[in-house]
Every structure is written in structure tokens, then in C-alpha cells.
């Protein structure tokens, strides 16, 4: 058997049935093997960045490891952004890149790039295979590393001459895992867990601050049980959306720069913050010394390096969120918490919610308000769609107004903030969730970064729906220019843009345009019901801003709650 085929067989042994990729000289043997390899579907993207983000969206929607392939040199460098993106949001991904033949490595050969070198700071781990004998072991290790502990991307760089060699493959001969330096801690320290339970039981103003770790570890049930038993309000991060049902009375919604006022008030006034699967990102904390000044911090994370990285933690617990929460609930139950032990706090939280709600501005003067459009999308889909987003204002409006009840429902580039992520991610999510309605909430700027993947959606009959919140601006940057740079709109106006309806049609997808509020709902229903991929160009108010907003490095006192 050719080594290229062995690569595919080894992937199959890891449960891979779908690969996203794009061919080229150094992976021709691999694509030759794919040509007649049963059991693997290859989704041909139109740019390696698209393939990488699609693998990412696939992984986030399905919980499986996303796999992408690119050729050496430019193919591989086009994967750099998706790899960095997956790294920042802890997404399990294996990226296989072709490399030039071994005897050409290091000679500036045609389409040679030092891929393991370039990606070094943005991978969980990487391999440069130097012998066919290492193929099966490496693939086994790569999947194990990518998917366990704190997940992340693993790069496997394979010289093309190795792929062409002949070798044996025995599917039952599974190479043993030998990773002496890699032992993620799943079980948290019981003494710490008991201490956490004691601190929570004694809290007068407790808050749960829940992040993407809840979703990664599949801990939503446990989180819910803990919040309900302890009667503790829950704030979530952007990646944590859906980890706790956002329509639940204990949900305070998203926290941080564009979070709800009440989530930010709650954190700032809390006396105990139970942080789980979060990393105290600067978009959440704002000014660090002023962040939650009264709080005792408990932090659960599978990655010990996250503990006390940004905020000093009083009760650290290293372990898997699901495992730790399970034990913690048992400990809390032993303490027999009374549900009304912090009534004044719950009243306070309720009054914040009542007095500072998120505002959905109704259409004004025949103009569609962007958050109203998101709210409509939410209504039309009963809040059940898988929602991907690009990056910018529309992303924040989507996070605020598309309330999620389930994990793996909201897929957004949080850590890296990659424009152009959402559309290919929605393609991957659709591949991973056939039959589900998958929507990309896009900005007109972001969509133009990866829109060529329309061809992919059409070719593979993936009926994703791109809802462009078209404000003809690079809106989020324009908002910053307006608020902090004297409205000097340098290079953020993008009025010159394609006719998105014709563009969609040119690719063989459906195109819709909505300019009047009264047409929105009907158009959404038609587009969402269609079996074809569709682009819906929603003309929204051009210079609307996202509120609330806490300026970068600010505190809850600096919050701008609404348009002045």
C-alpha cells in the first residue's frame, strides 16, 4: 500500500469520515489515494483558509476533530489564520500539510515553507514526519493531543516523497501512545473542590462566570444543575453561549465589552465568582485592577496555565469542567444550601435586569435596525439554528440578541477575531450537522473575505444561509473611529461593493435583498425554507453602533449603555 493511502487509513481509524482541503503538488499522492478511498468524503474548498475554517466549524458543531489538508508552501501558509483561530478558541483540529521531498528541504525549493516553524507559536503540537514508519504513530498521537485536555490544532507536515513510498498497513496494529510529557488532569483536587463548595455556600453575592470550556467538556447539564441548586446567576462569555440556556431566569447573558449591563454589574459587585472554562480575557475584564474588586475567585480549568494568568485566583481547581462540576454538586448538596440564602442579591440582580435591559430598536423611518434584524432571525428560527458569525458589529449584535439554549449552537471567532471565519465555518458546521438550519450572520466587509466558498456550498449542496447585515461600512472600526477618533472615518467606508444578490446567483446560490422592515420576516422564511444555499443582503441602518459598550481597558463605570 502507498504511504499516502496509509495516511488515510490511519485517519479513518481515528474516526475521520470528512476532510476539508485543497490540492497541490506536494499532496498529489494523498489526493490520488483519496480518489478511490471509500469512507472518506473530501470537501473541496476554494481557498485553504476556507478549508481550515470549515474544519474548525465542523469541529465546533460536531465535537469531533476537524481535519484539513493543504499543499506545501502557499497552501500551508494559507492555513496559518485558521490554525491560529483554532488555537485561540481551543478547537480540536488536525492540519495535514504536504512538504517538499526530504532531499529538497532547507534548499529554498519550489513551494517550500518551514510550516512547522511558521506555526510553532499557534499550535498545540506539530510534527514533521521524516520516515514512513512514523506515519501511523504520529496520526494517532496528533488526534489524541488535539482532542484531549485543552483541545487545539496539531499540524502534521509530510514530505511528498514519503507519501509515494510503499509500506505495510495492518488496521488492527494500533501503535501505542507514548507521550510521557502529556498527561492532562481530568480529576480536580477533592480538597480544593470541597473548599470551593464551602466558599460558594457562604457567598452573599455569588456569580457563575462560564465560558467555552463548558461546551468543550460537555458540562452544560452539570452547570445547569449547579446553578439551579445553588440559585446562582450565570454570566457567559462569547464562546460560552449556549453552555447555559440564555432564556433561563438565572441567565445574565453575555459579559464583557459588549455584554449586558446586568452581567457586568453582577460580576463587578459579586463577592464570589465561580469561573469555569474561561480565561479572563481582556474583552471580559476590561481594566484588570478594577475587575470584580470585591470577589473571591474560584477558577476551574483543564489548563493549569490559565489559573492566575490574568487575575489572582483564591481557589484554583485544575481539571475537566464536567468532572469537577459533578463532584462540586455533590459537595454542595452535602452542605444543604437553602434557596433563599441570598435573597437580597437575587433581588438586586433582578432589578438590574429590569432596569437595564438590552434594547432592540424598532425600525425607524423605514430603516432596519441591525439588532432588530437579528431578533427577527431568532424569532423566525425559534432560536434553534446553528449560528456562525463573522467579526464586527454584527457579531456582537448576534451574540446579544440570538439567545442560545444549546451548546454547539453559536460558532464565532472569539479569541482571534477573524473576519471571514463565519461563512466557511458555517459550511463545516453544515457538513457536521446535516438537516440543521445553519446561518452565517455576516458583515458586508467580512463576507467579502471568504465569499468564494459560495462555490463550495453550491457544489456540495450545503444550504447555509448568509445573512449580511449590510451597513456599507467596516462598522466596528467605524464605531471606534466615531467614539474615540473624532469621527475621522479613515478607510472604513465600503460603499463600493458587489451586488450580493447577483453574486450569489452567479455562483448558483439564491440571492435576496431586503431594504424594508416589513419584508424581512417573509424573506427570511422563504430563504430559510429553500434547499439551496442563500445570501440575504439585509440593508440595515448604516451608522448604528453596538451598545452597551465598555471601552477597552475601562470599567463598568465607563459603560455606554445606549446611543446618546
Amino acid at each position: 500500500m502507498k504511504a499516502a493511502r496509509v495516511i488515510l487509513e490511519a485517519l479513518k481509524r481515528e474516526g475521520v469520515d470528512t476532510i476539508f482541503g485543497f490540492p497541490g503538488g506536494s499532496v498529489i499522492p494523498l489526493y490520488d489515494a483519496l480518489y478511490d478511498c471509500p469512507g472518506i468524503t473530501h470537501i473541496l474548498a476554494r481557498h485553504e483558509q476556507g478549508a481550515g475554517h470549515a474544519a474548525d466549524g465542523y469541529a465546533r458543531a460536531s465535537g469531533k476533530v476537524g481535519v484539513c489538508i493543504a499543499t506545501s508552501g502557499p497552501g500551508a501558509t494559507n492555513l496559518v489564520t485558521p490554525i491560529a483561530n483554532a488555537y485561540m478558541d481551543s478547537v480540536p483540529m488536525v492540519a495535514i500539510t504536504g512538504q517538499v521531498s526530504r532531499h529538497l528541504i532547507g534548499l529554498d525549493s519550489f513551494q517550500e515553507a518551514d510550516v512547522t516553524g511558521i506555526t510553532l507559536p499557534i499550535v498545540k503540537h506539530s510534527y514533521l514526519i521524516t520516515s514512513k514508519d512514523d506515519i501511523t504513530r504520529t496520526i494517532r498521537e496528533a488526534f489524541h493531543i488535539a482532542s484531549t485536555g485543552r483541545p487545539g490544532p496539531v499540524v502534521i507536515d509530510i514530505p511528498v516523497d514519503i507519501m509515494k513510498e510503499d509500506m505495510e498497513f495492518d488496521p488492527d496494529d494500533v501503535p501505542p501512545l507514548h507521550l510521557p510529557g502529556y498527561k492532562p488532569t481530568v480529576k480536580g483536587h477533592m480538597k480544593q473542590i470541597r473548599e470551593a463548595a464551602r466558599v460558594i455556600a457562604a457567598a452573599e453575592r455569588p456569580v457563575i462566570y462560564a465560558g467555552g470550556g463548558i461546551i468543550i467538556s460537555g458540562a452544560s447539564q452539570e452547570l445547569r444543575e449547579m446553578a439551579l441548586y445553588g440559585h446562582i446567576p450565570v454570566v457567559n462569555t462569547l464562546t460560552g453561549k449556549g453552555g447555559f440556556p440564555e432564556d433561563h431566569e438565572l441567565s445574565m447573558g453575555m459579559v464583557g465589552m459588549h455584554g449586558t449591563p446586568y452581567a457586568n454589574y453582577a460580576l463587578s459587585q459579586a463577592d464570589v465568582i465561580f469561573a469555569v472554562g474561561v480565561r479572563f480575557d481582556d474583552r471580559v475584564t476590561g481594566k484588570l485592577d478594577a475587575f470584580a474588586p470585591h470577589a473571591t475567585f474560584i477558577h476551574v480549568d483543564v489548563d493549569p496555565a490559565e489559573i492566575s494568568k490574568n487575575v489572582a485566583i483564591d481557589v484554583p481547581i485544575v481539571g475537566d469542567a464536567k468532572w469537577v462540576l459533578g463532584e462540586l454538586i455533590t459537595e454542595l448538596r452535602k452542605l444543604e444550601l437553602s434557596p433563599d440564602r441570598h435573597l437580597p442579591w437575587m433581588e438586586q440582580v433582578e432589578s438590574w435586569k429590569r432596569d437595564h435591559p438590552l434594547i432592540v430598536r424598532e425600525p425607524d423611518n423605514g430603516e432596519i435596525m441591525p439588532e432588530w434584524a437579528i431578533h427577527k432571525i431568532w424569532q423566525v428560527t425559534n432560536g434553534d439554528a446553528i449560528v456562525c458569525t463573522e467579526v464586527g458589529q454584527h457579531q456582537m449584535w448576534a451574540a446579544q440578541h440570538y439567545l442560545c439554549r444549546h451548546p454547539r449552537q453559536f460558532i464565532s471567532s472569539a479569541g482571534l477575531g477573524t473576519m471571514g471565519f463565519g461563512f466557511p465555518a458555517s459550511i463545516g458546521a453544515q457538513v457536521g450537522s446535516p438537516g440543521r438550519l445553519v446561518i452565517d450572520i455576516a458583515g458586508d466587509g467580512s463576507f467579502q473575505m471568504t465569499l468564494q466558498e459560495l462555490a463550495t456550498a453550491v457544489q456540495f449542496r450545503l444550504p447555509v444561509k448568509v445573512c449580511i447585515m449590510n451597513n456599507q461600512w467596516l462598522g466596528m472600526v467605524r464605531q471606534w473611529q466615531e467614539l474615540f477618533w473624532n469621527s475621522r472615518y479613515s478607510q472604513t467606508c465600503i460603499e463600493c461593493q458587489p451586488d450580493f444578490v447577483k453574486l450569489a446567483e452567479a455562483y448558483g446560490a439564491e440571492g435576496y435583498r431586503v431594504s424594508r422592515p416589513e419584508d424581512l420576516e417573509e424573506t427570511l422564511r422563504i430563504a430559510f425554507a429553500s434547499p439551496a444555499p442563500a445570501v440575504i443582503d439585509i440593508r440595515v441602518k448604516q451608522e448604528a453602533n453596538v451598545y452597551p459598550m465598555i471601552p477597552a481597558g475601562g470599567t463598568v463605570h465607563d459603560m455606554m449603555e445606549r446611543e446618546l
Binding site: 507559536p121 503540537h125 493531543i145 510521557p180 510529557g181 492566575s308 494568568k309
Partner: protein
């Protein structure tokens, strides 16, 4: 604060770059770095000397732990460990100064390893301060060239570093 990190790693290509990258990315300067095989050929020992705030060293240590090829890290406490550097130094030695230099060599427990008409090549090991002091006393004679290996360190007592 000065720290000596003793890092046990898998002896594989690229591991040094991964380790060094974590320091470089944070703008930390590595004072010295010694890498060599251990008693087990599949493992290498890196001894990394840095001068950084404790908190920063703690963060970089945690990040080092995340590298798949890193097995163990010890932040060696000076009192509980033995630290050595190797110095090779070439000093101008004329007829009159030669005797004086040889006396210094004796006092510091160093060794002369090469002799020519104009220079002496001296080898010396010791803790960093002692090596520094030795260089200071030789300086007036005229140092042609000096090389130091950087810090090696091992914990005292029965347990392995």
C-alpha cells in the same frame, strides 16, 4: 529575580526551538542555556537561567509544561542545589606576569590547559560568582578571549532534579 529552571525534555528535533520560543515571545532574555543528553539518551536536560519577575517565570513555567515534549520542570532554589559553570579563558602571560597568574590559578582551583609564549589557556569550574571573581583577577593581565558555558545546576540530596 534570578531563576534557574531545570527542564527535562524529550531528546527530539525542534524541542529547543519550542522552549526558546516561549521565552522570546514574552520578551524574556535567557541569560544562559545549557542543553545535553541525560543518563537516558532519549531525554535531554535543559538548564535555563533567567532574570525575570517571579510571576513571569511562573507563567512561562506553566506554558513550558504545556509543551508536549517537556516532562518535568524544576525551579531550582540556590540553597538546595549545586550550580556550576565551566570557563575557558585565554590570558596574556609575559615572563614576569606568568608566575603571578599561575598563583591565581592555584588559589581558584583552576587548571592550565595550554601554554604558548604569549598566552595561557585556563580552564575553571565553579559557581557563577566564583567564575566571575576569577575573571576579575585575571582582567588586569589582559584577557584575549573568554567563554563560559552558562549555568548547570543539580538539586542536592537523594532525589533527582
Amino acid at each position: 529575580m534570578k531563576h534557574t529552571l531545570s527542564v527535562l525534555v524529550e531528546n527530539k528535533p525542534g524541542v529547543l526551538t519550542r522552549v526558546a520560543g516561549l521565552f522570546a515571545r514574552r520578551g524574556f532574555n535567557i541569560d544562559s542555556l545549557v542543553v545535553a543528553e541525560t543518563e537516558k539518551p532519549e531525554l535531554s536536560r535543559m538548564t535555563i537561567a533567567v532574570d525575570e519577575q517571579d510571576q513571569n517565570v511562573e507563567q512561562v513555567t506553566k506554558q513550558l509544561h504545556k509543551l508536549i515534549n517537556v516532562l518535568k520542570i524544576t525551579d531550582l532554589d540556590p540553597a538546595g542545589s549545586v550550580e556550576r559553570e565551566l570557563l575557558l579563558i585565554k590570558v596574556k602571560a609575559s615572563g614576569q606576569t606568568r608566575g603571578e597568574i599561575m598563583q591565581m590559578v592555584e588559589i581558584f582551583g583552576a587548571r592550565i590547559v595550554d601554554v604558548t609564549a604569549e598566552v595561557l589557556l585556563i580552564e575553571m569550574t565553579g559557581p557563577r560568582e566564583k567564575v566571575g571573581a576569577f575573571i576579575d583577577v585575571l582582567a588586569p593581565f589582559g584577557i584575549v578571549e573568554q567563554m563560559r558555558t552558562g549555568r548547570l545546576a543539580m538539586s542536592r540530596g537523594r532525589k533527582a532534579t
